[in-house]
Amino acid sequence: MNGESLWSIFVNAALVNNFVLAYFLGICPFLGVSAKLETAVRMGGAVMFVMLVSSVCAYGINLVLLAIGAPFLKLISFIVVIASTVQLVEMFIKKTSPTLFRALGIFLPLITTNCAILGLALFQTNKGYDFGQAIVYALGAGAGFALALILMAGVREKLELASMPNAVQGTAVALLVAGILSLAFMGFAGLGA
Amino acid sequence: MLSLLRRYPSFTHGVHLPDAKDDTCQEAIRQFPFAPVLVVPLSQHAGKPSVPTVREGEEVSRGQCIAAADGFVSVPQHAPVTGTVRRIGLAPSIAGAMTPAIYLEPYPGSSQEVAEGEPCNIDQSTPDDIVAAIQAAGIVGLGGAAFPTHVKLRPPDGKVMEVLMINGVECEPYLTTDHRVMLEQTDDVHTGIRYLLKATGATRAIIGIEANKLDAVDALRAAIPADLPVSVEPVAVKYPQGAEKMLITALLDREVPSSGLPLDVGVVVVNVATTAEIGRLLPHGRGIQERVVTISGPAVGRKGNYRIPIGTPLRFALEQVDLSPDVSRVFLGGPMMGQALSSLDIPITKGTSGFVAFTSAETRASPSEQPCIRCAYCVDACPIHLNPSQLGLLAMNAEYDRMADEFNLMDCFECGSCAYVCPSHIPLVQRFRVAKAIVRKRRAA
């Protein structure tokens, strides 16, 4: 139904309409987990993964809900299914691969009940993406989130050694950097057309 | 253009300094008079202090051993003068502390004949004999570190010394000690090399000399005995070419591993003055009791190279050379790595290669420190390829452990190139010294 090309979906989700910097989704973890580069990288990976999972979940639920004629349960089923799927995955990883768990798993609970994940599920349904498009959309959104997070972390690590005025330290400076990144990302406008 | 610069081997990075050597490099070495009192510290070297073998009031003759080595990493001290032991007590040291020393008062009437000892005959000695003789002569590195030379010559099991490298680079501005020694004690140098080659088992020796001392290169080349496997190699004029790591890289294209020793690449580095001293003393079985010192700098009236008895108080030495009343800073060593002195009462020791004195005219108010602008001048200067800018920022934030763990702080050998070039006047080396001290403290704890 939606005729956008996969490439354009990806570029739009990752750069032009970056989830954090243009859509304001997932700001809390973006501010919270971007102070250290290493955690940011791992968090970025975890987000990409969860986005994929939730994209698949949302696609499935939407089909089911349309079939039983209960679109009004969309929100509640999305959130419940996504949250529990991710939790199961988390437990599974914990059991099977402690290394992977330490690298990514500890972030999973942080992400499950997060705007970006639910936003992805809602947007992909609203835009009427088919399965392939939905997957690419999730990949793009996840990559964009990870990119923003990693750029932010780099700058924040650098600023950690700066002698900023006291009032700026902490969240305020993170927001300033986010604002500047958001201005810079405006350069990508029109790329996905 | 590039080929011109590339004519002499060198290392990457480093800085070009105004060399300020013309004042003294033409001055022949002159003998110094004896001071009214000489102060021989018991710790003039890295390692354990030596133990006095004389009592207060005892008479000693010049060259006699007055303090014995305390173990292997230690050297004996020899009387620089014939006279009496006035007392054994504390004396100020370069570091500002009070350390034990032997005070000697020369006999005014003595001929100051140097006592002859048991000669070390090179043909009949085993390498171990030579090492023992070097220790007995009280020889330490005269290049500045004052590390007991004989310790370096004893490789741990399994290591082979392949190349003996004689360090005649003398890259610090103002200093010309090694330059003069190379010109005037050419034969001593070669004799010393002969001893060292035998002691270490190295198959060849290379003398590395900065290309601003080509006369020394010629002199040494001309005097090479036929049977001695020595080559004399000029290297590019660049600071800190004289650091042993840089010299090894320039001449052999090998890198001493991080926190390793030259030995790890089969090299032992000995300063040329140290070598000459070995060559001068060992055939006579004497001990080291005087050394060549450059005294230079704008505040000095009679700049030059002097052979000065160990233990001569600096104040006395400076009186002899007409120090300007306007003196404001005196450094031991060159201006790049030298220590500023807080007092003129310290004695001249074996590690002293020179003094540079500045008047208040050169001491313009040191420009105030500004934030690092990340110009990367320091990055391009550091011969160890560290990132002094990052290290400086971390130091300012007291992140000492990160400096050591992530940014190789402990590899910094404090050459000062970074601080020299920094347009923001950040005291980088000073911060690194502090950081290293704290890291060492923490690692020891």
């Binding site: 419940v80 | 009070m98 007092s343 040191s366």
Partner: protein, 288 residues
């Protein structure tokens, strides 16, 4: 109809969810002592390490497992310590509170410099340059690294550039001990009131030219003290705190006030014979 669909769908979904959770809880239940969190919450969370553990969480675990006692935390209030003890049902195990003491009294008004240090204004930097230029090599350089490093504001530089420790605020975290290049700080139980605020290892009255309050190693304190209480080492009196040491006897005849008595309120008592220096201007630098 709609209600039925909805109830059916959501009921089914929650049934599934509950089953998942039940299974997960059975398979993957990890017993972690909840008291860790509770005790951690009760700690001051300043992660100072004074307790000897890497951070408050580790200390909390040690408390719960009985490895340590609440009293080891020096930052906490008595009330909170008791609360933790009460919660865990253990003894407070309070050790005597420790504070740092400074072994130097040579402020700029009584101790001279020999050379003028003009580099980076930090004791650690200065100490690396010929010891910092102070006449007394062992003495405090007065550039306040300890004041800056103290997170608890327990150290303030006096107007004579000598650190003054506020015993109330000092948590014995040891940061100043590490930072001081002259190693002038050491930890002491607050009950140690007899104190030698000097570290000069030289002897003789010539010292007084460099520092008017230096210990000249005259040994009068040794003579006046009960036998065995004070011995001389490196020309400095050493108090033996093992035995009874609550006496002001040794300070009485000290000519320079290099041995003192510290009142519980932090006031310093010097012997009657000690010189009184009223000057507050710094002494001029003087070469010797």
């Amino acid at each position: 109809m709609l209600v039925l669909t909805a109830v059916g769908a959501l009921g089914g979904l929650t049934l599934l969810l509950a089953t998942g959770l039940v299974l997960a809880n059975r398979r993957l239940y990890v017993e972690e002592d909840e008291r860790f969190d509770v005790v951690e919450d009760m700690l001051p969370l300043s992660n100072c390490g004074a307790c000897g553990y890497p951070g408050c969480r580790a200390f909390a675990e040690a408390l719960v497992t009985g490895e340590s006692q609440p009293g080891k935390c020096t930052v906490s209030t008595d009330l909170a310590r008791e609360a933790i003890a009460g919660y865990l049902g253990v003894d407070v195990g309070a050790e005597e509170r420790q504070v740092v003491r400074l072994a130097c009294a040579g402020g700029s008004n009584v101790a001279r410099n020999h050379a003028h240090y003009s580099g980076h204004q930090s004791c650690q930097s200065a100490a690396l340059v010929a010891g910092g230029g102070k006449g007394c090599f062992w003495g405090c350089l007065g550039l306040g690294d300890c004041e800056r490093v103290c997170e608890f504001d327990a150290i303030n530089m006096s107007r004579d550039s000598l650190p003054v420790v506020d015993e109330e605020l000092c948590t014995a975290c040891g940061d100043c001990i590490e930072i001081c290049p002259k190693d002038l700080f050491s930890l002491h139980p607050v009950s140690h009131r007899l104190w030698v605020p000097c570290s000069n290892k030289e002897a003789g009255d010539e010292l007084l030219a460099d520092c008017e309050v230096a210990c000249t190693a005259c040994e009068r304190c040794v003579m006046d003290a009960p036998p065995g209480l004070i011995t001389m080492r490196d020309n400095l009196p050493v108090v033996n705190y093992e035995g009874p040491h609550a006496t002001t006897k040794p300070i009485e005849r000290c000519p320079t006030g290099a041995i003192i008595w510290i009142e519980p309120d932090g006031r310093v008592v010097k012997g009657d014979a000690a010189v009184r220096v009223l000057r507050h201007a710094p002494l001029p630098d003087a070469p010797t």
